[in-house]
């Protein structure tokens, strides 16, 4: 009979004469017994049930249990539209470059610059007269400047004479 064996084991248990296997048997018996127990066996039931339940305590996962982040190479695949800023930046760069090339070409072909290289007079005689007139104006103005410079030269000579450098 199971109960008599348990009784015997319990007596040994309280006297510390049981082996580890016998104690495990007691725990197992009380944990899995259903229904009413004989009165003399009820006393120890909560204790062995408690021991059995304590075996179920398991440690929560430690951070060292899992692989480190660098050990697991996770490839994150994002949909195309998630990285829209990248594409927007490329588009902006292209637009900027295109605009600068376009404006450079426009400036190069600007008609204002081409007037300098274009003939303004079709009649050579007229052109010669105009050139003469322009040169006369230039010469007249140069002479004006020369007269002033001569005055300065006199003044300079006079100063040197006073200082006695010419002697």
């Amino acid at each position: 009979m199971e109960y008599s064996k348990i009784r015997e084991l319990l007596d040994k248990y309280w006297e510390c004469e049981t082996s580890l296997a016998e104690e495990a048997h007691l725990r197992d018996f009380y944990a899995h017994h259903h229904g009413e127990l004989p009165p003399d066996l009820r006393e120890a039931a909560p204790l062995f049930q408690y021991y059995h339940a304590a075996e179920a305590d398991t440690m929560p996962e430690l951070f060292t249990d899992g692989p480190a982040p660098w050990e697991t190479a996770t490839v994150i695949v994002r949909p195309f539209w998630h990285s829209w800023m990248k594409y927007a930046a490329v588009l902006l760069m292209a637009a900027g470059l295109g605009y600068s090339v376009f404006s450079f070409q426009q400036r190069r072909d600007d008609p204002q610059d081409t007037y300098a290289f274009r003939d303004t007079y079709s009649d050579p005689k007229l052109a010669y007269q105009e050139t003469q007139r322009a040169l006369q104006i230039l010469s007249k103005n140069l002479n004006k400047g020369k007269e002033q410079m001569e005055k300065l030269s006199y003044f300079h000579d006079a100063t040197e004479m006073i200082q006695g450098k010419n002697n």
């Binding site: 248990y13 309280w14 006297e15 510390c16 580890l20 104690e23 495990a24 725990r27 259903h34 009820r42 006393e43 120890a44 909560p46 204790l47 049930q49 408690y50 021991y51 339940a53 304590a54 075996e55 179920a56 305590d57 398991t58 440690m59 929560p60 430690l62 060292t64």
Partner: protein, 172 residues
């Protein structure tokens, strides 16, 4: 000791060490911390492992010493972990009333074991909950085997008296 040996010999007893630390500290987070520290300490002392007869007892001693240091270091407040006591699985319970009754009973048993003197409690837990032999308990606690037997006998006697009170009078 290589990491393979460490994983093969130490990691399987991790749960047992955790339960031991949990019972000493009564707090899951602190027990986890202690286990991390204990594993690091075991790793640092790996040269000693060759000389050891019982690796498990040595690891449990390290865990116990660290837990006791923690308790001493900051006037550790031991809390009766009522929540945990209520988590006891009740597989053959039919209704909430019986479940509550069972939880209450488990809480009382938890309380009466916790009221034992520290030495009695630890020896009782190491034997009845961790399944350690007398020799292993003596190694963990660094005491004589005869002392283990005497203290276990006294601890069980006290528990039995308390259980009788609980059974007959319904008091703790």
């Amino acid at each position: 000791m290589s990491s393979e040996v460490f994983i093969a010999q130490i990691m399987p007893i991790k749960q047992k060490l955790y339960r031991f630390a949990l019972r000493l500290l009564g707090n899951e987070e602190d027990a986890k911390d202690i286990i991390q520290d204990a594993l690091v300490k075991v790793w640092h002392n790996k040269e000693k492992m060759g000389e050891l007869q019982n690796l498990e007892a040595w690891c449990m001693r390290i865990t116990r010493n660290l837990a006791l240091d923690k308790i001493k270091s900051r006037k550790y407040r031991m809390t009766d972990d009522l929540d945990r006591a209520q988590e006891v699985p009740a597989t053959h319970q039919q209704n909430p009333h019986q479940t509550a009754e069972q939880s209450d009973l488990m809480r009382r048993v938890h309380g009466l074991i916790n009221k034992l003197p520290e030495k009695f409690r630890t020896i009782l837990q190491l034997r009845d909950m961790d399944g350690l032999s007398y020799q292993e308990i003596a190694e963990v606690l660094e005491i004589e085997m005869s002392e283990v037997k005497i203290n276990l006998h006294r601890a069980r006697k006290q528990v039995r008296e308390q259980l009788q009170n609980l059974h007959v009078y319904g008091i703790q």
